[in-house]
């Protein structure tokens, strides 16, 4: 009995030993310095001449495959150089040249994967997308359609849903090579630009995952940050690039982002508004800083067409005044400012809605309200995304804005 017990243990031990080599995970061993960590990707159009000249024959032989209808793409990647990225503020120093911390390479390809494979052929280490934070698409590509780009990044298990996808004015590659002074790595600077604008109430949370969800929804369209590079290598958010299906159809003004945020009631709020108290006197302006937004969207059917009543409440503080022509020292003047601002806001919100209506791009998700709250109507008259894109043009709105100015700063008049 006792001996049987021992032999049983030995047998178990042997079985365990057999398993050992399987458990070490050696197939996927990849040392951190053998990885090419891709931090950012830019996607640009490419002229057919340049494409023909630079095309590599990695995933197919030249001439065997006609270029896709949208044309070929030029992909730029920003690869982190291991060891070159200083970890703390004390380390490193020296010049802030981009080229020292990252390596920017461009390739051309028929599709995303084709381009990445051409790139892999030129880079010794395996490309790793687990730390990919920024994907920049040029405006031209966004207008042609994002199918391939969305498909590739959705399919790739390494890509995070918290990465940023953005549309650039002009060439996207510029954002990969830019060398902003505040961060040592350009993509991290881009990322913090957007993350901070969320915190300051200047931009909605619009990670790639949110964009994907929005553009999948039947009653909503996706939108992306629209960015441009400025003279000092800094980056400006110039508005929302809005889509209809997979195609970009327009851009809002930077200030109209506030319109989107107000209509959706996103907090914290952070936009300033200029208010002219007397229409004929440019010196009668004050500026207010909106601190809190609230919006209620009510849906009803009016003559068989969805009608939205939108109530928006804005809380604001007064921040500056142009001249000493009038004093801000009593509730009456505050009430006047509030009235002027709310009238201006109504027009402002109506404009931005009209703008998207004319393109059939419902970035606010009004269609989702119809789908969610009037399912019978939706199933009978709308049902598909395409139908809503058309229907959205006919939808009517009634907007009410209440502005409440709470504080006027440290000055008494």
């Amino acid at each position: 009995m006792h001996r049987a017990g021992i032999s049983k243990q030995i047998r178990l031990l042997l079985a365990a030993l057999l398993l050992m080599p399987l458990l070490t995970g050696c197939w996927d061993r990849l040392e951190i310095d053998e990885r090419a960590v891709v931090l950012g990707v830019s996607i640009d159009e490419v002229t057919s001449e340049e494409a023909a000249e630079r095309e590599s024959e990695v995933s197919h032989v030249k001439g065997s495959l006609p270029p896709p209808k949208q044309g070929m793409v030029k992909v730029g990647v920003q690869i982190a150089l291991p060891g070159r990225i200083p970890l703390g503020p004390g380390e490193g120093g020296g010049s802030n040249d981009t080229m020292q911390t990252v390596w920017v390479i461009t390739v051309v390809g028929h599709s995303m994967d084709d381009a990445f494979m051409n790139l892999q052929q030129q880079v010794s280490s395996e490309l790793f997308f687990g730390h990919l934070r920024i994907i920049v698409v040029s405006e031209a590509i966004a207008k042609k359609g994002m199918e391939n780009i969305n498909d590739y990044f959705r399919r790739n298990p390494e890509v995070r849903r918290m990465a940023w996808l953005m549309v650039s004015k002009g060439k996207a590659l510029g954002l990969m090579t830019a060398a902003p002074k505040l961060e040592r790595i350009p993509t991290l600077y881009l990322m913090s630009t957007l993350d901070n604008s969320i915190k300051m109430g200047k931009f909605p949370k619009d990670y790639i995952g949110v964009y994907w969800s929005n553009s999948s929804k039947k009653g909503q369209e996706g939108f992306l940050p629209y960015v441009a590079i400025k003279d000092e290598q800094n980056v400006e958010i110039q508005g929302l690039a809005y889509f209809r299906g997979e195609h970009m159809v327009g851009v809002t003004k930077p200030f109209e982002v506030a319109g989107y945020l107000g209509l959706r009631g996103v907090n914290p709020a952070g936009y300033r508004a200029v208010i002219m108290l007397d229409e004929n006197d440019p010196n009668s302006t004050v500026m207010t800083n909106v601190t809190h937004r609230r919006s209620v969207i009510k849906l009803r059917l009016k003559d068989g067409v969805p009608h939205f009543d939108i109530y928006i409440e804005l809380e604001a503080n007064l921040e500056e005044k142009m001249s000493e022509e009038f004093e801000i020292n009593n509730p009456d003047i505050i009430a006047r400012i509030e009235r002027v601002q709310s009238d201006a806001s109504v027009k402002f919100y109506q404009n931005i809605i009209k703008k998207t209506q004319s393109k059939g791009s419902d970035i606010f998700g009004f269609g989702e309200h119809v789908r969610a709250k009037k399912p019978k109507y939706w199933n009978q008259y709308v049902k598909t995304k395409e139908a809503w894109q058309e229907k959205y043009k006919e939808v009517t709105f009634n907007i009410d804005v209440i502005v409440k100015i709470r504080r006027i700063g440290m000055k008494a008049i």
Binding site: L12, A15, L19, L22, L23, G25, W27, D28, R154, P157, R160, R161, M162, K205, G209, V210, W212, S213, S216, K217, K218, G365, E368, H369, R371, A372, K373, P375, K376, W378, N379
Partner: protein, 367 residues
């Protein structure tokens, strides 16, 4: 050594066995199944499925309480005769062997796709199956300890991920909560109910329970907790992604974990942590179906020990696991086998119960 008293399993242990058996590979594609069935009414369909699943387990538990010393493979013979009973048992055995292999393969596919891309799928599958085979050699008491030990580890992280991801949730995605077009809802209900089939393990647990009378309570707890978790996962993923986006994701729950992050940037994506937990969940599921298959074989062949079968089964189960040609083929098979399985895990016990009542058969009351 381990079998001094064969009736040691308590109410909590029995519920724990059920919970950790039910929570398994199915949690990953669950929201996809639910959304395909009913769009934004996915939570409702999940609730229906929980109801169906509870009905199945209730029939089995009722039978088990009627024959508190026997499992379905034994009282089946008493109720419908030796021949028919044996055929019934063999069908159940084959089904659970297939279920084991499909679970292992689905696990392998997820691992190969998302984590260990260059590890052959055969290796992940065989490691998992061997682990289950070794652990299934133990007695039912140890088997119960396995499950009781692991089940808090399964519940807490799943609930945590669901809660953390609720920050990005939008209520409008869950509306309309009622079915608007009931076409696929019926099939979908059964596809999801099929994810609860591991609960059949109850048939071998009841004869080992200290108080078989409490079996129904254990079943109820088991279904409520695991069903509740399923519901939370469906609600969380639908409210975060919206129904249409989920239709584009093969494993929405994994995607949900990818999007969730611990506050203050402690962990920026939880999919790695989630997968680690999920491996445990798959292990307990595999262990149960493997254990059930070998114990059933023992009882059908009237042997004393079930250990013999654990390693004999291994090559057969492994071979079956390798049969599906690709991941889409795998899911077609999983959905079909799952729904067919409901005849085996629900209709068969139901039929037995009916006949037992008509023929006034019941087992000995006293243990």
């Amino acid at each position: 050594m381990e079998n001094t008293d064969s009736r040691q399993i308590t109410l909590i242990q029995a519920s724990a066995i059920l919970i950790s058996t039910i929570i398994g590979v199915g949690v990953l594609p669950l929201p996809l199944f639910a959304v395909r069935a009913a769009d934004s009414a996915a939570p409702l369909v999940t609730i229906f499925a929980i109801g169906v699943a509870f009905l199945g387990i209730a029939l089995l538990t009722w039978l088990g309480m009627r024959f508190p010393n026997q499992s379905i493979f034994q009282y089946g013979n008493d109720i419908i005769g030796k021949w028919l009973g044996t055929i019934g048992s063999i069908v159940v055995i084959v089904f659970f062997a297939v279920l084991t292999s499909l679970t292992a393969r689905e696990f392998g596919e997820v691992v190969v796709t998302s984590v260990l891309k260059s590890t052959p799928v055969e290796v992940t599958v065989i490691v998992m199956l061997t682990l289950a085979a070794i652990s299934a050699r133990r007695s039912i008491t140890t088997f119960a300890y396995f499950h009781t030990f692991y089940f808090p580890l399964l519940l807490v992280p799943c609930v945590l991920i669901a809660i953390l991801s609720l920050g990005n949730a939008e209520v409008i995605n869950l509306q309309p909560i009622l079915l608007t077009s009931p076409n696929n809802a019926f099939m979908g209900t059964f596809t999801i109910a099929a994810l609860f089939q591991g609960s059949f393990i109850m048939t071998v647990v009841i004869p080992a329970m200290r108080k078989p009378k409490k079996a129904m309570k254990a079943s109820l707890f088991g279904i409520l907790v695991s069903g509740g978790l399923y519901l939370i996962i469906v609600v969380a993923s639908v409210s975060v992604f919206g129904a249409e986006e989920i239709k584009k994701l093969l494993w929405p729950t994994l995607e949900l974990a990818k999007g969730a992050s611990l506050p203050a940037n402690v962990l920026e994506r939880l999919d790695a942590a989630f997968l680690a937990v999920w491996v445990t969940a798959v292990f307990t599921t595999l262990l149960s179906s493997y254990f059930l298959t070998s114990v059933a074989l023992k009882q059908v062949l009237h042997l004393k020990e079930h250990q013999v079968f654990t390693f004999i089964l291994l090559p057969i189960v492994f071979f079956m696991a390798m049969l599906p040609q690709n991941v889409t083929h795998l899911y077609v098979i999983i959905e079909d086998i799952g729904r067919v399985g409901l005849y085996i895990t629900m209709a068969y016990p139901g039929l037995l119960l009916l006949i037992a009542m008509l023929r006034k058969k019941r087992g000995e009351r006293n243990a």
